[in-house]
Every structure is written in structure tokens, then in C-alpha cells.
């Protein structure tokens, strides 16, 4: 008997008492999967599809189309094909034999012709009055309950100590409580005790407590007082989700966007989590565009996150007077029409000179071998902004190059960087790095070191500032330089010495031309 299962009229909502079978969508002999819609049942309020509660094969339809049955009534008998038709027949017989004089078949036929149904009294529920009379030795099968004959016989006036629900169940399923051993305080009989006794005697008693609910409950209560973020409330409204059904995982106990989405996906399981399809109400237009991270973006993100969190950065800032530099530039550019040197180029040259003067800053940190690599020449990486990222082409041996050479090299590198034509050896390595945001008017900033380099210099804009020279306030074109140093390889004094040297070169540019 255990491999025969039954399908029953479900209880959809508190007030549902009975349902009308309007349409079977599978026929006898069909196999079905758990969750598959197998028949349509109409209640006074709605028509809904019954989802199969288990995998199985429908062997016999009991609730014919058009029949009206009470909640819990059996509408179909299922078993796999190994169970013979005879067995199925016997099973159905055992059902009807306990139903007294009203075979269900008649009932349903009668109902089918009657458009305005009244409540059918025909249910498989066994009432005590019917069972008290015959000394039936047949087991009682009721839904998935099967009470062995020797445990049958509910007695109204039993003085037995039992929980209220045990008494209710005993009455409903005609169990003789006197025959059940109570395990509770003072031998009180509980439903569990009845279940144990019934099963021990070879009967059936479903373990209702351990069956998950078929569908999650949907609230209809007023949710206006539920705390929620405005976005969450808007989304819930659009998706017709009651905020009572949402967890409140947001700040200050509020329902947030994720909570509403969680309910949405619970109700609309999809293979890949994407926002609702077009058939669903349009979700709120969100005021951002999701831009997927491409390879370069991911690399930048990873490298800089690692650099910023692993390297013990410290920062040194110095102001330099660029009037001499500007004068020299104007001079060169006006005298040599073939070249067009920028302030940045001149800084590159000055930095290169300073790096040679203070080589302790012209270093890389070789973490693996725990050593500092100090370079003979100044290979200066220059941060260049390109679409969706940045790249650092290297002006190699800048200390050895003439200003004009630096200028053309830099221009060439920047052009090719922006068109993605650099070869790896042109942007990998470098003994020092600079980043210039002066063209945007940035006064001063601190850059993140580009490992394995030991330092990076951030150049601000050229700006006329009031400065004091020989105790007189005067206007000078000034630039603020900020150097970020990796303290593992460069100490404060070393960095400061470098910046002092750089200031010297910038303010007396003839020194690096020499």
C-alpha cells in the first residue's frame, strides 16, 4: 500500500472549504513531475492549477471534471506501473468501503450536471458514528492515514490524559486512545504517541510536521507601516509584492531593494538571475548603467587595490617655483622651431637628474628575494589616460636623453598608448613613476605607487601664487609636487632629499642642461 499515493483537494487560503475540479490536464496513465500542473481547481474566489506534490503516475482519476469536493478529498490515485490495476482497484475499494453508503462516483456525476453546486458532504473523512456500529476489521484509510483495526474505536468519554489535539485527531481518525501509550508528563498521550503506535502496528500516519509548505504564504495585510527604503517600496509596488513578505535586512531594520528582489525571485524562479522578463510589470528604471568591467579595468582594480592595501605609503609634498623652467622653455621653443617642449618634458628631465643625484629613490622592491634594486639609469613611467583606463609608458634612460629627445619620445609614446599600440616592454618596468593632472587644474594630489617601483610623483597645475621672496610678497608660477613613497624601501629623509634635489633642478634648470 505504501507505494500507492493519493492526490487531494488542496487548501488554498483560510476560507477555502471545497473546490471544483474544472479540468484535468493529464490523463490516467500519464506520468508527472513534482510541481507540474496536473489539474485546474476552482474555488469561490479563484481558479488555480494544482501542482503535483510529488513525482508519480496517475492511475485513476477519482475527482472527475466538474465534481465539487471538500478540501482534503482524494481526487486521484497514483502509483508507478509496477503496481497492478487490481491493487489500485482494491485500494479504491478500501476507500469507498469506509465512506458508508454514498459512493463518490454517483456524487460527482450528479454534481457535474448541476451548475450551482452545494457543499458536498462526501468526503473520505470517517465520522465516528459510522464506525461505531460495525465491528469492522478492515484498516481505515483516510488520506494518508491508515489505522490498524486493533487501534480503532474512539471513545468519547475516555478518562485518558491526552493533549487536546491528540483527542481531536483520535476522534477524526477513530483511534482508541486507551490503546496508546502516552510518553508525556503523567503518561499524557500526544499526537506523536498516536503516530508511533499506529506505525508500529503497521498503519500509516503522515508526518505533517516535517513537510515543507507547498508554496510560501503571500501576505495581503496592509504594509504601509512596514519600514522600507523608498526604492524598495517603489519596486514592491510595481511587482505587486507585499512588504510583509520581505525580510528587513536593510539599515535600521528597513526592507531594502535586495529584500524585495529576493521575494521576486522566490516567486519567479529563473535559471539565470536576470531582472523580470517583458511579460512582467516593468521594473523601476534605475538611475545608473551597469558597465561590465573589461580586462584592463579588472587589472587596474586588482593591482591598485593590492598596491594601496599592501604598500605602506607615506607622502611628501613640496612647492616648486617654475618661473626659470618656463623662461627656459619659452627660450628653447622660440629658438628651435623644430621642437615643442612642454613643461612636463622639462619636469621629466629634472626628475631624471634628481633620480641620478639621489639614486636611493630610483629603485624597485624585489619582494621575492627581499632586496632593493637600485637602477643606474632613470626609466620614468608616465601615467597616460586612455579610454576606460590608464597606462604607464616608460621614457627609458631619461637622464641620458636630450630635452628634445624626451619631448618627441614622450609624444610618440602617448600617441601610441592612446591607440593601443605599445609593446609590453614599453610599459612594463620603470624605476620611477610620474602622474600629471595639472592640465585639469588639479592643485595637488597623492598617487598610488605602481609596484614594484618605490615611488610615484604627482604633479599639480602651474599656478600663480603669492610667495615670499626676500621678505617681499611676490607673484610666482608655482607647482605642488607630492611624492608617494613605499616606506619599505624609501625612508622619509631619503624621499625628502630627493624632493629637495628636484626642487633645485627645477628652479635652476641650467643645472640639468649642463
Amino acid at each position: 500500500m505504501s507505494n500507492i499515493q493519493t492526490l487531494e483537494v488542496p487548501k488554498w487560503g483560510l476560507s477555502m472549504q471545497e473546490g471544483k475540479i474544472t479540468q484535468w490536464t493529464i490523463k490516467e496513465g500519464d506520468s508527472f513531475k513534482k510541481g507540474q500542473e496536473i489539474c485546474v481547481i476552482e474555488t469561490t474566489k479563484i481558479a488555480n492549477s494544482l501542482e503535483a506534490p510529488f513525482d508519480g503516475t496517475l492511475r485513476r482519476i477519482i475527482g472527475k471534471n466538474g465534481s465539487v469536493l471538500e478540501v482534503g478529498a482524494i481526487i486521484g490515485v497514483c502509483a508507478d506501473t509496477s503496481v497492478s490495476d487490481q491493487k489500485i482497484e482494491q485500494f479504491i475499494q478500501s476507500l469507498s468501503s469506509n465512506k458508508g453508503s454514498e459512493p463518490q462516483e454517483q456524487k460527482t456525476e450528479a454534481k457535474a450536471t448541476e451548475p450551482q453546486q452545494t457543499k458536498s458532504p462526501s468526503t473520505p473523512t470517517v465520522t465516528t458514528s459510522k464506525l461505531d456500529t460495525p465491528t469492522s476489521t478492515k484498516p481505515i484509510v483516510n488520506d494518508n492515514f491508515l489505522i490498524p483495526s486493533d487501534l480503532q474505536g474512539y471513545q468519547e468519554n475516555s478518562n485518558l490524559f491526552a493533549t487536546p489535539h491528540a483527542i481531536n485527531m483520535a476522534q477524526k481518525h477513530n483511534v482508541n486512545l486507551d490503546k496508546i501509550h502516552g510518553s508525556g508528563p503523567q503518561q499524557r498521550v500526544s499526537i506523536n504517541d498516536i503516530q508511533k503506535a499506529v506505525i508500529a502496528a503497521g498503519g500509516q500516519w503522515p508526518d505533517v510536521k516535517n513537510q515543507p509548505a507547498k508554496t510560501p504564504a503571500k501576505s495581503t495585510a496592509d504594509d504601509s507601516h512596514i519600514l522600507a527604503t523608498p526604492l524598495a517600496r517603489r519596486m514592491a509596488e510595481e511587482w505587486n509584492i507585499n512588504l510583509n513578505d520581505c525580510r528587513a535586512s536593510g539599515s535600521r531594520g528597513r526592507v531594502c531593494k535586495e529584500d524585495v528582489e529576493a521575494v521576486y525571485y522566490r516567486n519567479h524562479p529563473v535559471s539565470s538571475p536576470s531582472l523580470p522578463a517583458a511579460t512582467q510589470p516593468e521594473p523601476t528604471k534605475l538611475d545608473f548603467t551597469a558597465i561590465p568591467m573589461d580586462g584592463m579595468r579588472k587589472t587596474i582594480a586588482e593591482r591598485l587595490q593590492a598596491a594601496k592595501s599592501e604598500i605602506p605609503h607615506f607622502y611628501l609634498t613640496i612647492d616648486v617655483d617654475v618661473s626659470a623652467l618656463q623662461e627656459l622653455r619659452t627660450d628653447i621653443n622660440s629658438k628651435l622651431p623644430s621642437v615643442k617642449i612642454s613643461i612636463n618634458d622639462m619636469f621629466l628631465k629634472a626628475i631624471a637628474s634628481a633620480l641620478i643625484a639621489v639614486p636611493e629613490v630610483n629603485v624597485q622592491y624585489d619582494v621575492e628575494n627581499q632586496q632593493i634594486l637600485q637602477f643606474d639609469q632613470a626609466d620614468i613611467s608616465v601615467a597616460v589616460a586612455i579610454p576606460n583606463g590608464l597606462i604607464t609608458p616608460i621614457v627609458k634612460a631619461a637622464n641620458k636623453r636630450a630635452l628634445s629627445d624626451i619631448s618627441t619620445t614622450m609624444r610618440d609614446l602617448a600617441t601610441r598608448a592612446k591607440t593601443g599600440k605599445l609593446s609590453p616592454d614599453e610599459f612594463q618596468g620603470g624605476s620611477f613613476c610620474i602622474s600629471n593632472l595639472g592640465m585639469f587644474g588639479i592643485k595637488q594630489f597623492e598617487a598610488i605607487i605602481n609596484p614594484p617601483q618605490g615611488a610615484i610623483l604627482a604633479l599639480g597645475t602651474v599656478e600663480k601664487r603669492a610667495v615670499v621672496r626676500d621678505d617681499v610678497i611676490t607673484i610666482r608660477p608655482m607647482v605642488t609636487l607630492s611624492m608617494s613613497c613605499d616606506h619599505r624601501v624609501i625612508d622619509g629623509a631619503t624621499g625628502a632629499k630627493f624632493l629637495a634635489s628636484l626642487k633645485e633642478f627645477v628652479e635652476n634648470p641650467m643645472a640639468f642642461l649642463a
Binding site: L14, T163, P164, H165, A166, N168, G184, P185, Q186, R188, S190, I191, N192, V208, K209, N210, Q211, P212, A213, A217, K218, S219, T220, A221, N244
Partner: protein
């Protein structure tokens, strides 16, 4: 069977047991009241009879040897009770207000509750600690609390929280006859309620919940005063066709898990009403039980109705807002019913 007040039901249980068993004594501040006072001593008068008059009359029958007035020293009261219980008496200590557990808890939870275990089963401490719990009396923060959840978290103690005169008498009789230390929590707003109480002695077993209302749609679990508020809500909603089951566990250690879970299994919707605490209280313990052992019966999230996480205020307006009210219970019920 006749109508009796909760107060008289308690007194009757003590009286019956004192007559039945000469080892039963009552110990506490003012359990007679009047020792050492000229008027009461010379005229052999009963005094307070407990601060709210529960034990009034016992002294006349049993005398100072068994109705023992003590100084206001709770540690000595409970310690002496524990020592006496371990050596052959069945004392009933009156702590007056349960709030005072703070000044004597060592004697209860480090001594009496642990005797049996620490001494390998060779000792027992058959004692009862009676005391008042509950807000609603404008007694303010130190005389209005319901710390039964604290007692229930201590292994070795049994905790009784009766809601009706019938339960009070039957459970107190059981408490006195019980061989373990029992903390018996009386709600001060219940002393004057009346109900049918048998004239004879009877016991109610521990760990057996009482269903004060039977219903099919929702379960309210409540203790003590809160049972009455839950009943009120159940009766009101019955007019709307909502069928409410009210489960009164009556004792929270031991707890009738079965009685609670069976009700939850039948309704699938639960509201727990508890005056003890907003955090780590009785309601939270029961909610955890249901979440663990009755999860698949649930059709809606469990609702808890507790006081806020604040001390009990004095002002009547504030105190009424503090106590779980019938209105709040009703809102919670509607919420779990989704109607």
C-alpha cells in the same frame, strides 16, 4: 467547587499542605507581619500576611514556628530556605517581589539549583520560592518585572507562572510536594480575579500546557496576565469568524513542547505574548523552539508581542504603553493571519 480569588487559591494550597505535612514552613519578610510590634504581639493579631495579604491567617493556625517572619535580608531568607530544604524541611520562601532575586540569586542559582547535580544526586532541595511578578501596578522599575525567563535558564530550577485561580492552587500544591526547587511567579494584577476552584486539594502536573481557547486559525502562546489578554482577543476575533487557540504553558521549566508544537502544527500561525523581556526572553525561547521543531507547519512568520527593551516606567501612561496590550496582540494576530 466554588468561586475563589487567585489570592485565596494560593493561600488554600499553602494551608492545605501545612496541615498535611508538618515539614512545610513559610519563611519571609512579613509573611505574618507584626512580630516585634506591641499591638500585634499583645493582641495576637495577624499583620500584613505578606505584602499583598496572601498568607494572612496562616500565623493564627500555625504559629511563629512555621510562619517565620524574617529580617529584610533576601540572601539569608533564600539561603536558609535552601539549607533547610536540603536537611529535611519543605520550606516556602516569600521573596515578595521577584525583582529582588538580584539580591539573593546566589542562594538560588549557585546553591539550591545545583545541590543535586554537584553532589552527584545525593541531595535534593524541595523548596518553593514565591514572589510577585508583573507590571500594571505603577510600582516602577524595581517592583514590576517578570524575570521568570532568568530562572528558566537555570538548570535545576522549575518555574511556574500560573494564570488562573484553579491553576494557582493546583500548581502550588504540586510545587510544595515537588522534590526540586520551584520558583512560583504570581502576577500582582491577578490576585483579585476569581474562578472556580475545587475545595479539596489537587495537583496539576508540571509541563502540561492548558488551552484556554481552542481554535483552528492561529495560536497565541501566553503566560500569566497575558493569557487573559489573549483570551480577550480570541473572544473578540471569534465574532469575525477568526478561530484563535490560546495556549498557556503554565510552567516554563519544564516546558510543554508537545502541547505548543501540536497547536502550531494545527494552525500554522503563531503569536507569542510575553511580559518578560524584549530580548532573550521567554517569547524568544519559544519562537526558537517553533522555528526548530515546527518550521514546516508555519504558514507565516512568528510574531512576538513583548515589552520594549526598557525598564518598566512609573507613569501610568508610560506603563500601559510598556505592557503588551490586547490591541497589540490583536494587531499581531491579524498580521500573522494576513487579514
Amino acid at each position: 467547587m466554588s468561586k475563589k480569588s487567585y489570592r485565596n487559591a494560593i493561600k488554600e494550597a499553602i494551608e492545605f499542605e501545612m496541615r498535611r505535612d508538618p515539614t512545610v514552613v513559610v519563611i519571609g519578610e512579613d509573611v505574618r507581619g507584626g512580630h516585634g510590634a506591641k499591638n500585634t504581639e499583645e493582641n495576637k493579631l495577624e499583620g500584613f500576611g505578606g505584602v499583598l495579604g496572601v498568607t494572612k491567617g496562616l500565623w493564627t493556625e500555625f504559629g511563629s514556628e512555621r510562619v517565620i517572619d524574617t529580617p529584610i535580608t533576601e540572601s539569608a531568607i533564600i539561603g536558609m530556605t535552601a539549607g533547610a530544604a536540603a536537611t529535611g524541611l519543605r520550606p516556602i520562601a516569600d521573596l515578595m517581589f521577584m525583582d529582588f532575586y538580584g539580591v539573593c540569586y546566589d542562594m538560588l542559582y549557585n546553591q539550591a539549583a545545583k545541590f543535586r547535580y554537584m553532589f552527584g544526586g545525593k541531595a535534593k532541595a524541595p523548596m518553593v520560592v514565591r514572589g510577585m511578578i508583573g507590571a500594571g501596578f505603577s510600582a516602577a522599575a524595581q517592583h514590576s518585572q517578570s524575570p521568570y525567563h532568568i530562572f528558566a535558564s537555570t538548570p535545576g530550577l522549575k518555574v511556574v507562572v500560573p494564570s488562573s485561580p484553579y491553576d494557582a492552587k493546583g500548581l502550588l500544591t504540586q510545587s510544595i510536594r515537588d522534590d526540586d526547587p520551584v520558583v512560583f511567579c504570581e502576577h500582582k494584577l491577578l490576585y483579585d480575579i476569581t474562578g472556580e476552584v475545587p475545595d479539596d486539594d489537587y495537583t496539576i502536573p508540571f509541563g502540561v500546557a492548558n488551552y484556554t481557547r481552542q481554535g483552528t486559525d492561529v495560536t497565541i502562546i501566553a503566560l500569566s496576565l497575558m493569557v487573559h489578554r489573549a483570551n480577550e482577543v480570541a473572544d473578540k476575533l471569534a465574532n469575525e469568524g477568526i478561530s484563535v487557540e490560546v495556549v498557556d504553558p503554565r510552567t516554563i521549566s519544564p516546558l510543554d513542547e508537545e502541547g505548543i508544537l501540536e497547536s502550531v502544527a494545527s494552525t500554522g500561525r503563531v503569536v507569542i505574548v510575553d511580559e518578560s523581556a524584549a530580548r532573550c526572553g521567554f517569547a524568544h525561547d519559544v519562537a526558537a523552539l517553533i522555528a526548530q521543531k515546527g518550521f514546516y507547519s508555519l504558514k507565516a512568520p512568528i510574531e512576538l508581542v513583548t515589552p520594549p527593551h526598557t525598564p518598566v516606567p512609573f507613569s501610568n501612561v508610560l506603563e500601559q504603553a510598556w505592557l503588551p496590550s490586547a490591541e497589540r496582540i490583536e494587531i499581531a494576530v491579524r498580521k500573522v493571519l494576513e487579514v
